[in-house]
Structure formats: structure tokens, C-alpha cells
């Protein structure tokens, strides 16, 4: 039961990264893909009807994590106190950047919120990457299962590390390039020339960033946390996840060249899903490794809620996810197609 819930929470987080990932990616490439106010409006219009629903995956994943693994939720949220609060403020700024810019028709007002949107998206992406880096690297858990990390200490990977060290910053850069590529693919899919052409160029450039930083991060993970490979030698079928990631990586490159936008977008989605699943598979059954004493690591077993709660939860979760799939299918179908012009009022 706890393994199932581990997979379901991982699934929801991956959905978040894929869906809100292209919103964040749009923010990263915002000023590169769009060169004038009208083009910037088109970019925001491309994510306008969907970004809020995408962000809900983070909230729902958080809620599900709380419900299935209460101790993990309590421990990680209090331990990552400062970065989470910063993430909150950035999420606020990102949302306001999208929602407020079209409220006043003044060029300075609009420019300000476009900058806020892009700036918050870039920082959020790096923080999310660094967060994943912290989970892979491990945190200084005590015997009660709690910890606290300052923002940084010496920037080296030591047991008493901070949120930011060279490894987690590297993971932040991976996230930056991956989501830049993913966002470029989305924008290429949703727009016409000249934005579409620029998005193709950006996707091509960021692809090399993805390859270089991913290889570096892989090598770094190997050196600081080699036991992440243990599951792969015990369960060979697990190689399907990294294989999917590599297939996605190839697709990102190939469909960019052939300008098949939807396939390129699906490829970057596959890459994200494959890489996150590969990480989750490597960590399991740990959910938060301890850098202090391996015995203090939080696992799915010592953080889970009791059987009855997890069982009734499965019933409503399955009902809920059917509805959610329905909403998303309907919303994306309604807003399908490329965006041509944006009316003054943001399309109301």
C-alpha cells in the first residue's frame, strides 16, 4: 500500500513538473521568444487559461503527500523552511505577473509584470531543481526524523550542507535547461511565426544545455550517492525509466529538426517523466535520505499513515483522478490550436 502511494505521489509530482513546467519554461524564454509587447501577450495568452490548473498539481501532490506520509510532510516542510517560503513568494509573484499585467493598459505597468513573471519563473525553476538535488543528496536528519537546513553553508557536499551547494545548484541548472526546452516546445506548438521559429532555435540551444548538465549531474550523483544504483541492479526492469528518458531526449532533438511541434513537446514531457521516475525508482524505499546517519533516513515505511486511511484514500483518489482527467481533456481541447492575436483585454 505504501509503495502504491509512493508511486501515486511521484506521479502527481511528475504531472506538476510536466504541466507547470511548460508555464515556467515559457517564463524562462519569455524575453527571448517574444520581442515586443504584442508577442509577449501572445505568450501569456498561451498559458493564461491553463497555468492555474497546472499549478494545482503541486497543491494536490502536497495534499496527497501530507495524507499518505504525514511525517515526511512535516519533516521536509519544516526542514526546508526557508526555500519553501521563498518558493511561495515566487509562486505568488509568478501568478500575479500573469494575472495582473493585462489589468491596466499602460506600457510600464505591463513591462513590469512581464519582468516579474519571467524573473519568478527562472528562480522557481532553479529552486525546484535544487529541491530535487537536496532529496537526492540527503539532508541532516536527526533521530526524531526532523532537520533544518540553512540556505547555504560552505557550498560543498558535506553532512551539514545547506540547501544550496555545488550539487544542488547543478541540479537547478539541469531544471533550468530542461524546462527552457520544454517551454520552447510548448510555445512552438501554440504560436505562429516569427515566435514559432524563435522557439525552435531556443529549443535547439537549450537541448545542448540539457545534455551537458544532465551528464554532469549524472556523474556527480554517481560520486556522492552511489547507492542510488542499487535498485537498478536488483530490479532490472527499472531501466525502463532511464530508457524512456533517453528516448525522450532523442525525440526532443529529432522532432525539433523535423519541426513536428506536438511530438517534440511530448518528447520533452517523456524526458521529464522518465528522469523523475528514474530518480524516484533509485531512491525507493527512501523518501528523504539522511546525510547524518543512514539509519535516520525517512522511508515510505516509517512515514506512512495507517492502513485504513490509505485504503479509503485510494477509493476517493481514483474517483478524483477520473474527474481531473476529464477536466484537463476538456480544457485543453477547448483551448487547442495556435494563438494568432490577443484582444486588448487579454482575451476575455
Amino acid at each position: 500500500m505504501e509503495t502504491l502511494w509512493f508511486a501515486l505521489v511521484a506521479f502527481m509530482l511528475a504531472m506538476y513538473v510536466i504541466l507547470d513546467g511548460f508555464d515556467l519554461g515559457t517564463g524562462i524564454i519569455h524575453f527571448l521568444a517574444a520581442r515586443n509587447p504584442e508577442e509577449r501577450n501572445i505568450l501569456l495568452r498561451a498559458i493564461g487559461p491553463v497555468w492555474d490548473g497546472n499549478e494545482v498539481w503541486l497543491l494536490a501532490a502536497g495534499g496527497t503527500l501530507y495524507f499518505a506520509f504525514p511525517l515526511l510532510y512535516a519533516s521536509s516542510f519544516s526542514g526546508f523552511y526557508l526555500p519553501l517560503m521563498i518558493v511561495l513568494w515566487l509562486l505568488m509573484l509568478r501568478g500575479l505577473g500573469i494575472e495582473f499585467q493585462h489589468q491596466v493598459h499602460n506600457p510600464l505597468w505591463k513591462s513590469f509584470w512581464h519582468i516579474v513573471f519571467s524573473f519568478a519563473s527562472i528562480l522557481l525553476t532553479i529552486f525546484f531543481g535544487a529541491a530535487l538535488g537536496n532529496v537526492v543528496r540527503g539532508v541532516p536528519l536527526n533521530a526524531d526524523g526532523y532537520f533544518f537546513e540553512p540556505l547555504w553553508t560552505t557550498f560543498t557536499v558535506v553532512p551539514e550542507a545547506g540547501i544550496l551547494d555545488w550539487f544542488t545548484v547543478l541540479m537547478g541548472l539541469v531544471a533550468f535547461f530542461v524546462l527552457a526546452n520544454h517551454g520552447s516546445n510548448y510555445i512552438a506548438l501554440k504560436t505562429l511565426d516569427p515566435i514559432r521559429t524563435r522557439a525552435h532555435t531556443l529549443a535547439r540551444g537549450s537541448w545542448w544545455g540539457v545534455v551537458l548538465t544532465s551528464v554532469a549531474a549524472l556523474a556527480a550523483t554517481w560520486s556522492i550517492h552511489p547507492e542510488i544504483w542499487d535498485n537498478y541492479s536488483s530490479f532490472v526492469w527499472g531501466w525502463i525509466f532511464p530508457a524512456a528518458g533517453v528516448a525522450g531526449l532523442f525525440g526532443m532533438w529529432y522532432f525539433n529538426r523535423t519541426q513536428e511541434d506536438l511530438k517534440a513537446f511530448l518528447s520533452s514531457s517523456l524526458f521529464i517523466a522518465g528522469m523523475l521516475a528514474a530518480t524516484a525508482f533509485g531512491l525507493y524505499p527512501k523518501v528523504l535520505p539522511a546525510s547524518t546517519n543512514p539509519a535516520y533516513s525517512l522511508t515510505v515505511y516509517n512515514t506512512r499513515a495507517q492502513e485504513y486511511g490509505l485504503q479509503v484514500g485510494l477509493t476517493w483518489w481514483l474517483i478524483g483522478i477520473v474527474f481531473v482527467a476529464g477536466y484537463f481533456f476538456y480544457v485543453y481541447r477547448t483551448f487547442r490550436g495556435r494563438i494568432t492575436v490577443v484582444t486588448e483585454d487579454g482575451g476575455y
Partner: protein, 443 residues
């Protein structure tokens, strides 16, 4: 440790009070939007659709702020109240996770359709989108109030060997007896806020002569909704909720009412300041025996006073609790008077000419916000010193690893952030009101 507790409480109180300014409007306004879209669908009168569009835009700004200020609430359970989350996550994780699955997705998906998709959806589809947004916001409210109701009146749980609590009865949690009245009372309170806000803008448009026709449309929705809600919030929901408190949390009830001595035929205090040194009410204005009657329907019924209970069980801030409760009840009474008068004038078609009444309606809108906030303060201060009533004290729920200095840093950050948000919000809403409803082509 004392410092950290205080700062954690202040941060939660500040962020939740600011947050609740927005959902309390959107939950009520969602209902009014459905009514406006429904009236348009039925009559084809474009004024109704223009009203719905105008309020849809105000709704959108409020919704956006509700979302961005709501995320910190869920986060804070983990960040600042880690021991509470570990203790109670096995129960309230259920309702919080269900809120995400059943409410947030529904609301956010259909709000996009409601705001961006009127042309694509057609009138019926657009009405359905409004209905879905309304349903989402009320479902969201249900799960949140269910979470609070469990903290007020823990049910459906067992205690595990490690001291944490776990759910043992799913429907028991969702049908907590406390929940029925707390939920209906809260939701109807939010309809009052929306009704007063709609009336205030309507009154402004009529008084200033800017959009008198739309102003009257707003009144035709706002006044009846305000009247029905003002009555329902007092009776049966407020009344039943207070008696629930008297039954399950008698100490809280005594503190709310400012009753220090246990007595038969207890008086109902309207005005007076609790003096915590003398343990009495200063300059009380009260009606003898009324409290006993309202609580037990018997004039001579016995009500327990604060002195009967051990001091360690007393709510930590009795005067503030007492004032919150009295402010809420006092304002609620005034709302009934204002709305009965307005409804009478609306029915006799004299409302547009009664300028004094329009002035009152235009200026009254902040008071439902105050009353709703005071109501929540009553619930939360009344639960003290418990975080989960009778099971966990607030002092035992904080995160041990987060220092007071770090919490203060984020509290200050939230204050700064919310100051900016609040200013922008007021600016944008004023601008919308100034622009006014736009006539639909062909009307």
C-alpha cells in the same frame, strides 16, 4: 520556545485572515454569478449578462489572490506546525488531500473556461462553467471547514502506539456533527459579504448616476440574497452553532459570553468589557435569564461559568475572544435591519429615491468582512489553549527545528508581500468599478 510559538501563531493568524478576505467574497459571489448567468439564460436580458461579466472580472482578481494567498496556508501546516502535522496528518491529511483532488482542479479548470471561453462555450456552456466554479469553491470550503471542525471536535480517530492519531471512520470525519452548522454558517456568511459588496457597487452606480440601470440590476440580486443570508446566518445556523459550542466546549462558551459565575438563569451580555483581574464584566448591559433561554430554551437553565473550570483550560485570550464574538453578533443584527429595510424599499420600487439608504448600502460593505473575520477569530481563539480540542495543546504543535528568528523573517516577509498585494488589489478593483459594466454588442 515561547517566542517561536507566538511568532508561529501570529504568522498563521495574519496569513489566514488576509487569505480569507478573498475566498469569502468568491464563495458568495460564485453563487450570485450563477444566479446572474441563470437569469440571463432564462430571460435573454443582456443586462444580466453584463452584470455577470462585470462581477466575473472582480471575481477573477479575488480568485487569483485567494489562490496565491491560500498556498501558504497548506504549506504552513508542515513548515511551522510540523509536530501537529505528524500528530494529526493521519486524519486531516484526508480532507486536505481531498480538497485538492475534488475542489482545486474543478475550480481552476473551469475558471479558465469561464473567463476565456464565453464565445467558445455559448450561453449554456458558459452558465455550466459558472456553476462548476461555484461548486468548486463550495466544495473547497467544505473540506477546509471539515478540517477545522475536526480540530474543534475530534471524531473518527484512534490513537496509535506512537501517539499519533489515525482515521478509523471516513464518513464519521466527513459528517462530523460540528461540521454541519459550522459549514452552513461560514458559507452563508460569505454570501452576506458578496451581497453587501454587490449592493455597495450598485448603490455607488445609482448615487453617482454612472450606470444607474446596472446599479439596479445589482440591487435586484444583492438585496434579496443579502436578506436571506442575513437571516439564515443568525437562525438556524448561528444559533445551532452556538449551542454546539455550549455542549462540546463549555469553557469556550462561557468565555465568549463573558460569563464568569455558574448560574441558573444566566444573563445575556450585550455590552461590557471583561476585567480579567476582577473576573467580572465592567459596565454590563444585559438582559437577565436570556442566555439560559437561548441555550437551553428554559429561563432557569444552568450555564457553566468560567470559574467552574480549571484555569489551564481557559482560552488564552478571553477578552479578545469575547469581543470577536460580540462584534460578530452585533454586526449580524445590523445586517438584518439593513437588508430588511432595503428589501422593503426594493419591493416598493422606492430604493432608487431613498438616497440615505443607498448611502448606507454603499458604505456598509467592510462590515461583513469584519464580521466574518471576527467569526473565525471566535472559532480559533475559542479553541485555545488546544490545537486539537482536548487532544493536543497549541504549544506542543510547533516545528522544533525552525527557530524564532527564521519564523520572524518569514512573518515580516509575508507582511511586506501582502501589503503590496493588498494595495494592488484595491487599485485594480477600484479601476474595474470605475470602468463599470460594458454593454454587450447588440443590446
Amino acid at each position: 520556545m515561547e517566542d517561536a510559538l507566538l511568532i508561529n501563531r501570529l504568522q498563521f493568524a495574519f496569513t489566514i485572515m488576509f487569505h480569507y478576505l478573498f475566498p469569502q467574497l468568491t464563495m458568495g459571489l460564485g453563487l450570485l454569478l450563477v444566479l446572474m448567468k441563470g437569469a440571463f439564460l432564462k430571460t435573454g436580458n443582456n443586462r444580466y449578462n453584463e452584470a455577470a461579466r462585470f462581477w466575473g472580472k472582480i471575481f477573477a482578481v479575488n480568485f487569483a489572490l485567494g489562490v496565491v494567498t491560500g498556498i501558504p496556508m497548506e504549506f504552513q501546516f508542515g513548515t511551522n506546525w510540523a509536530r501537529f502535522s505528524t500528530f494529526a496528518g493521519g486524519v486531516i491529511g484526508q480532507t486536505l488531500a481531498m480538497e485538492g483532488m475534488f475542489a482545486f482542479f474543478l475550480e481552476s479548470s473551469f475558471l479558465g473556461l469561464f473567463l476565456f471561453g464565453e464565445k467558445k462555450l455559448g450561453p449554456k456552456g458558459h452558465f455550466a462553467a459558472a456553476l462548476a466554479v461555484f461548486a468548486g469553491s463550495w466544495i473547497s470550503g467544505y473540506f477546509i471547514v471539515a478540517t477545522n471542525a475536526w480540530m474543534q471536535n475530534p471524531v473518527a480517530y484512534t490513537v496509535a502506539a506512537d501517539g499519533t492519531v489515525h482515521l478509523n471512520d471516513f464518513w464519521g470525519l466527513l459528517l462530523n456533527p460540528w461540521l454541519l452548522w459550522q459549514y452552513t454558517h461560514t458559507m452563508i456568511g460569505s454570501v452576506i459579504t458578496a451581497a453587501f459588496v454587490v449592493c455597495a457597487v450598485g448603490a455607488y452606480y445609482i448615487l453617482s448616476g454612472k450606470h444607474p440601470e446596472h446599479g439596479m440590476v445589482f440591487m435586484r440580486f444583492g438585496v434579496p440574497a443579502g436578506l436571506i443570508a442575513s437571516v439564515l446566518v443568525a437562525f438556524p445556523t448561528g444559533d445551532a452553532h452556538a449551542r454546539m459550542v455550549a455542549e462540546k466546549q463549555p469553557v469556550t462558551f462561557a468565555a465568549m459570553e463573558g460569563l464568569f459565575e455558574t448560574k441558573e438563569g444566566a444573563e445575556l451580555v450585550f455590552i461590557g468589557q471583561p476585567d480579567m483581574e476582577k473576573l467580572a464584566i465592567d459596565n454590563p448591559l444585559h438582559i437577565p435569564k436570556l442566555l439560559s433561554f437561548l441555550t437551553h430554551y428554559r429561563w432557569e437553565a444552568e450555564i457553566h461559568g468560567l470559574k467552574e473550570f480549571d484555569r489551564s483550560l481557559w482560552p488564552t485570550n478571553i477578552p479578545l475572544l469575547y469581543y470577536s464574538y460580540h462584534v460578530m453578533v452585533g454586526l449580524g443584527t445590523i445586517f438584518i435591519v439593513v437588508m430588511v429595510t432595503s428589501f422593503y424599499a426594493l419591493k416598493r420600487n422606492t430604493l432608487p429615491s431613498l438616497r440615505w439608504l443607498l448611502w448606507i448600502l454603499m458604505l456598509a460593505f467592510p462590515f461583513p468582512y469584519i464580521a466574518n473575520t471576527a467569526g473565525w477569530m471566535t472559532a480559533e481563539l475559542g479553541r485555545q489553549p488546544w490545537l486539537v480540542y482536548g487532544l493536543m495543546r497549541t504549544v506542543d504543535g510547533t516545528s522544533t527545528t525552525v527557530s524564532a528568528g527564521n519564523s520572524l523573517f518569514t512573518l515580516l516577509g509575508f507582511i511586506g508581500m501582502y501589503f503590496v498585494l493588498g494595495t494592488l488589489f484595491v487599485l485594480l478593483v477600484l479601476k474595474r468599478i470605475n470602468t463599470g459594466p460594458v454593454a454587450v454588442e447588440g443590446s
